[in-house]
Amino acid sequence: METTNAQSNLMKGMVRVLSLTGISRPVQNSKDIAEKESDFSVNLRWRRFKANAFRVVLIGTVTLAVMMLLILLYEIIRQGAGWLNWNFITSFPSRFPAKAGIWSAIWGSLWVITFTAIFSIPVGVGAAVYLEEYAKRSRLGNLIEINISNLAGVPSIIYGLLGLVVFVRAMALGRSVTSGALTMSLLILPVIIVASREALRGVPNTIREAAYALGATRWQAISAHVVPAALPGILTGIILSLSRAIGETAPLILVGAVAYVAFVPEGPSSAFTVLPIQIFDWSSRPQESFHELAAAGILVLLIFLLTMNAAAIFIRDRYQRRLKW
């Protein structure tokens, strides 16, 4: 008697655990529903099995992705956390790991990202507004659209080459913050344009009609209603693409950001380094201590990125709650 009770308790517990994962659910016995002769071969058992098997596969993929991220984070924190202190933040790079820091890289990243934002936001949003609100649908328009989408998929090092040829050499801007920021702007412009167009397309046409019906010009309708309504989406796209730019390394290596910079950039024409390049440089050195410094640098970069992404999510949620129709 006792054993059966314990067994049934165990069974109940297992069923509960399984039902939490959604793998097994108590299902009414299909035989209860009188099965008449019919054209249907219901075969519920096999179908349920397939449905559950698929669910297990999906849970597996999610677990795999999350596990990878956790392992990565754990490894970085294990290596880098010990080095992460105020000294590390406020020191310039050095040959001696104990004295090395990321002060110039942090400032370099801030300079580059600020100038990237200044260059890319007006151009990107402007282009999106033009393509979405002004341009007539035509073959040329379609071609431009396909082109922009493709540009978003071009490897970043190609943009580096372009930046080197056009900004550093042809325009003689040198290996400066400006060159780096312009190159980064090229890199993220397609993303900003695509995201902004998507946001503008999501603004219901009824809003445009309402504005036009009141005798608004196109510019009045767009500036007062269409763009503000699309702003959450546009801002999210901008922040996400800027956070992509802050983590990019390859194009800036080509444009000539250097790893050893013992000063904070003084202006747009100053030489510079950025966080990912500093990290790249440290991790390619043989000494173990520099690898740990690199891990600490990654932690700082991650904090930057997570803050920006959190800001994007915050902005989106905040505005979306206000804009419901």
Binding site: T206, I207, A210, A213, L214, G215, A216, P228, L323, K324
Partner: protein, 256 residues
Amino acid sequence: MVEAQTIAEPILETENLTVAYGSAPAVKNVNVRISQNQITAMIGPSGCGKSTLLRTFNRMNDLVFGVRIRGKVLYHGRDIYKKGSDPVEIRRKVGMVFQKPNPFPGSIFKNVSWGPSINGYRGDLPELVERCLRKAALWDEVKDKLNDSGLALSGGQQQRLCIARAIAMDPEVILLDEPCSALDPASTARVEELLLELREKYTILIVTHNMQQAARISDLTAFLFQGKLIEFGETKTIFTTPKNRETEDYVTGKFG
């Protein structure tokens, strides 16, 4: 083809108007004269072109890609589609209320005041907002929350807000494109009551799917079918002794 009757001075008039989206004409060769200070209803089955016709009166069709318009639309005798005429000008005088209430996602106050303010209104905005909300029979419900979002109102209130917004431009004509189709019967009754009051000052054109509504509130009724104006006349005549077979079949509910 049916000769449009002249009951009062026409304010809007079409001459051989044909509107096509791409190659398919939605409105074919329509001649209609809209009288001042009357409610004109446009009825007909889905796809008969009544909304398209309505939208030519304030050039809202311009926003549709690939639309082609032939013939004339005269407003006080002037062709609004003449080369060089600005659609912004006609839309100031011919306001519109849409099928789905579409307040701007801003405050109630701003919903009403935006149109006048972008068109250089020099009077007292708060006074104008109050006057329009009163005319739209909405003032008592919203006077304490003018800064709340227009989207927070109920569907019927939103539609009256849209009417207030249209009135604020001091138009001569108000076009309504199935304004009650998204509203419940009580809200519909309020809007209809409102339209009957507004007739004193404005010329009203209303597209409706609801024949009882057309019969209840309109002075004149136009019946459209397959893009053509089949019959146009006094509402009473259209609903009791229509001249045309198709009109009779439609208003008696044989099809539609």
